[in-house]
Symmetry: C2
Subunit: 279 residues, 2 copies
Amino acid sequence: MLIDGKALAAEVEAKTKARVEKLAARGIVPGLATVLVGANPASQMYIRLKHSACTRVGIRSENVMLPEDATCEQLIGRIRELNLRSDIHGILMQLPLPKGLSPQKAMMAIAPEKDVDGFHPVNMGALLLGAERLVPCTPRGIIYALERLGKGLEGAEAVIVGHSNVVGKPLAAMMLNRNATVQVCHVFTKDLAKHTRDAEILAVAAGVPALIKKEMVRPGAYVFDVGISRVGDKTVGDVDFDAVKDIAAAITPVPGGVGPLTVAMLLEQTVQAAESQIA
Amino acid sequence: MLIDGKALAAEVEAKTKARVEKLAARGIVPGLATVLVGANPASQMYIRLKHSACTRVGIRSENVMLPEDATCEQLIGRIRELNLRSDIHGILMQLPLPKGLSPQKAMMAIAPEKDVDGFHPVNMGALLLGAERLVPCTPRGIIYALERLGKGLEGAEAVIVGHSNVVGKPLAAMMLNRNATVQVCHVFTKDLAKHTRDAEILAVAAGVPALIKKEMVRPGAYVFDVGISRVGDKTVGDVDFDAVKDIAAAITPVPGGVGPLTVAMLLEQTVQAAESQIA
């Protein structure tokens, strides 16, 4: 079975749109501000994708641009302005930042209740402690898909490849909070296949094209491919999709899998943030 | 080899004492306040242990007691007083709290820079993000012991049994930050032995006496037993020590293993907190 990220995202968008309309009836339009430092083309594309998704569900969005050579003080100053604005409910700082700017310091400046990317330490900490509030969007999308597919996490053997702050570590915490048995592998893992073959649920976020071959996957596994790489003129994931699809119970394609779900979760979290700020 | 928690703790205490003396030369005496709600005998015992450890290294300590029926507001009020005092550098709220009091809410009230137990969400989040500041003391003790024993974590197969907020989850994050391959098992895990047999490093914090038998341990493993239970008139851990010691490369006894190390880490973190508050 193909896990159709676009279809799942469309479902989430429809539900989110309904929540936006409820807020509108109270005179509130959820507002998202994105912050882009410099002119990284990939970042510009992601920002565009997010703004057009906002438009689809009725979230007002704006982009704050800073030059490549902006100082940390300037960046934090702009974030603080956004923190104070009551028409902005969510703030997303597009990563990566240009060299010389500390993402940790800048992230700390975002008001935790507006941190719709879920990267502020206090939100990450609440996540690790099992009191999830705003959480990183890609892990949230994977958890959502599993729930929607009826694949329970309690007692399930989950294996994550990649231990980044954005995907691997927060996803591990979210799966543990749902009582999965969790293994986290990465570039330092000695025998990756030995681990991945245990997985009833396999999430791969390594950024290495075709890292996961058919013989590394347990038949009947649910496979989530977070990788996005360009190989020639094709966009590919970390999983050898054509081979693995024959033995997986369900698998996300790249593109059209985890990506659209991540954007949908951002919309949902922005509305969640708006709802909690007026409550 | 026996991992002598008392000896390792004594080492840490000696180093901590030297740091206290350096602070004294600047006119600063590190201060730790413990907060105890109610009269749980085990909690009282732990508090006494911590205060006498403070005395050994020259940390001034005091205990704030609240009655069993204290309200959340009263508890938070007392914590806020301690936050404001410049002679108190560390605040430790003894868990568990009486029913009706939310540990999360109370924990949020502790100034993060005085959170020497490392349980505040912002410290937990920094930990998950790989920017460790003040961290939970038991995981820190285990990491310390591994470093001291020269057992590298990078690429090592680590298995943790237990996924609590106090030990399992923060230890998993600390091991991932050091590039171990990490598996976290718990009461919902289907085949515990299958996982534990992978472990070059095995940390058990399940609270189930003799849960880990010899045949569940990989020969040559480093075994850390965090469990403390009373069985008859004996204090025992989660590992069948007498059998497992024959095949482990190194193992902590109970008592005298992880416990003393945890207290030593509390002292070290209190001094660390004092140093960072005067910097």
